[in-house]
Amino acid sequence: MSSENKTPLLSVRNLVVEFSTRYGPVRAVDDISFDVYPNETVGIVGESGCGKTVTGLTLLQLIPMPPGRIVQGSINFDGRDLTKLSEKEMQEMRGSDISMIFQEPMTALNPVFSVGNQMIDVLRRHKNLTRRQARELAINMLDTVGIPAPRKRIDEYPHQMSGGMRQRVMIAMALSCGPKLLIADEPTTALDVTTQAQVMEQIVKLQDEFHMSMILVTHDLGVVAESCDRAIVMYCGNIIETAAIDDLFHKPQHPYTRGLLDSIPRIREERITELPIIRGMVPDLLHLPDGCRFADRCPRATDECRQDKPVVNIDPVTGNGVACYHPMG
């Protein structure tokens, strides 16, 4: 990404998010910094529990507080620090400037209102429209996201629709106010492969049409490879690598990124008896090691790695960075 002479739309700096639990505080997001430029799609990848969803929710100030708490850091969006906004200001921001779509659309849609009523509500909250105008716009949006017979289906309830259709409705709703940034958290994970392909294609097409930036949260490296310009790899609440998509897939620097890429069965390749694996498992956030959090599983670990935690150093030219003392090179 040529990012040198542009200003980022979103700039997250040293963000720390903590949850208090019965066993003590858990840092779900631990000192992360990243930028998203206009029109850019940034993927956030990593295994379950690494902090992807909490990152997305925090940007919109949607984490439950308590038990959650932003300990430190700033979230600059379009010139304003979102951590400093009042709840009312934030509400105006949500759904208009920044929208979010979730993995399971059923939890985000209200089952007792028709799809149309929910869309009209969102539109009228953010735009000065009559009910009739909002309804027309909603029908238009449903058509745009590929819902057949939108004029008829707009009056249906969420449970009358298939999973793929509900996710399209969510996308229509998220895009209806023309946001500058869309946060999509595993938008196709709950869908079947063929539906997933339909919905992903739709999202990418609309992102282009609407000139939006997008943060695409997913555990599917295939989806990242096909849809993102850049990706961030998270592990135990940290960003451990960030790179332009070609670099990340062809020259992964972090041993964890490398391990993840190696362990996916590739359909195009010959059958092999042993898949390369990453040994062991993700450490518990309550009992993190002092040094590198990946050290126990890392084939390249040395004593140095176990002493101090490596930090990401971003190369000012490429924008790539890795948190590792012995990167793959």
């Binding site: 492969v193 392909a197 295939g222 490879a225 590739r266 359909i267 008896t273 898949l275």
Partner: protein, 330 residues
């Protein structure tokens, strides 16, 4: 097809599993959900048949019917020469230890109030194997085989991660030296780094114990990695079946072609030309007439909605069986 018939460990013929449902146009009428509709498959000793299809197409129902957790509506389940399809629970018991099942979410299938030791000992008790000391030895060996510490015996399922729980599920399934394991999405709920560990474990065990697998999954890349042959299912029926490489490299059914084309590949650089299917999977309660795929098929002709295509042989490059249910050569 006929050549390998005598060697099959499992041979399923014309299997149907219908569920009664209230539905259809008249809510009072009793409709039927044809979850499995006229399925015939076979699996040889030490062989893996992969079963792929979208949500609700009947994969789990087929698996559960084969292990007789569900009684079939019609058809035969020939296992090692005996027909399990209409056996009584008592007659089934000696066969049960030969055919085991592993589930997607082991948490649901492991009793949370029992320790791992109890869970793994249970199959031995049910089948009257060994005294207490012998059973302890066997449990310890099982834990070792699936790569869990011996201290696991005293712990409970909730104390383990998803991947570890799947290891426990696998240990329980192989406890009685079965010949066939129905694996229902065994790695779908796991993260990639753990998924590869479990797949390797399953392949190792297959080698050591000469196990046969029916490997159910929606991820075609995973299925191709572990399977000798692949069956593609759509709305209760097998629409294509053949050697894993053959089906992947020369898919003959338009649905198989669409499934392969839909897989997002972890290789950046230019989006591939992709064949996107329109619409959603229709309901198995009221499946489309003729070829059930005709509502989404890019090659559909008038004949497709009128006449159901039967599975027919297509010539495989390798001379193996390769069958497809489509009227045309597309």
């Amino acid at each position: 097809m006929s050549a390998d018939q005598p060697e099959a460990l499992l041979r399923v013929e014309g299997l149907k599993t219908y569920f009664p449902v209230r539905g259809g146009v008249f809510l009072t009428a009793q409709a039927q959900c044809k979850a499995v509709d006229d399925v015939s498959i076979h699996i040889g000793p030490g062989e893996t048949l992969g079963l792929v299809g979208e949500s609700g197409c009947g994969k789990s129902t087929l698996g559960k019917t084969i292990v007789r957790l569900i009684k079939p509506t019609d058809g035969r389940i020939l296992f090692d020469g005996s027909d399990l399809s209409s056996m009584s629970e008592r007659a089934l018991k000696p066969h049960r230890r030969q055919v085991q099942m592993i589930f997607q979410d082991p948490a649901d299938s492991l009793n949370s109030r029992h320790s791992i030791g109890n869970i793994l000992e249970e199959p031995f008790i049910i089948h009257g194997i060994g005294d207490a000391a012998e059973r302890d030895r066997r449990v310890a060996r099982l834990l070792d085989v699936v790569g869990l510490p011996s201290s696991a015996v005293e712990r409970f399922p909730f104390e383990f991660s998803g991947g570890q729980r799947q290891r426990i599920g696998i240990a329980r399934a192989v406890a009685l030296n079965p010949k066939l394991i129905i694996c229902d999405e065994p790695v779908s709920a796991l993260d990639v780094s753990i998924q590869s560990q479990i797949l390797n474990l399953m392949l190792d065990l297959q080698q050591e114990m000469n196990l046969s697998y029916l490997f159910i999954a929606h991820d075609l890349a995973v299925v191709k990695h572990v399977s000798d042959r692949i069956a593609i299912m759509y709305l209760g029926r097998i629409v294509e079946m053949g050697g894993a490489d053959e089906v992947y490299e020369r898919p003959k059914h338009p649905y198989t072609q669409a499934l392969i084309s839909a897989i997002p590949e972890p290789v950046p650089g230019g989006k591939r030309e992709r064949q996107i299917l329109a619409g959603d999977v229709p309901s198995p309660i009221d499946p489309p007439s003729g070829c059930a795929f005709h509502t989404r098929c890019p090659h559909a002709q008038p004949k497709c909605s009128e006449e159901r295509p039967e599975l027919r042989d297509v010539v495989a490059r390798t001379g193996e069986e390769h069958v497809v249910a489509c009227h045309f050569d597309v």
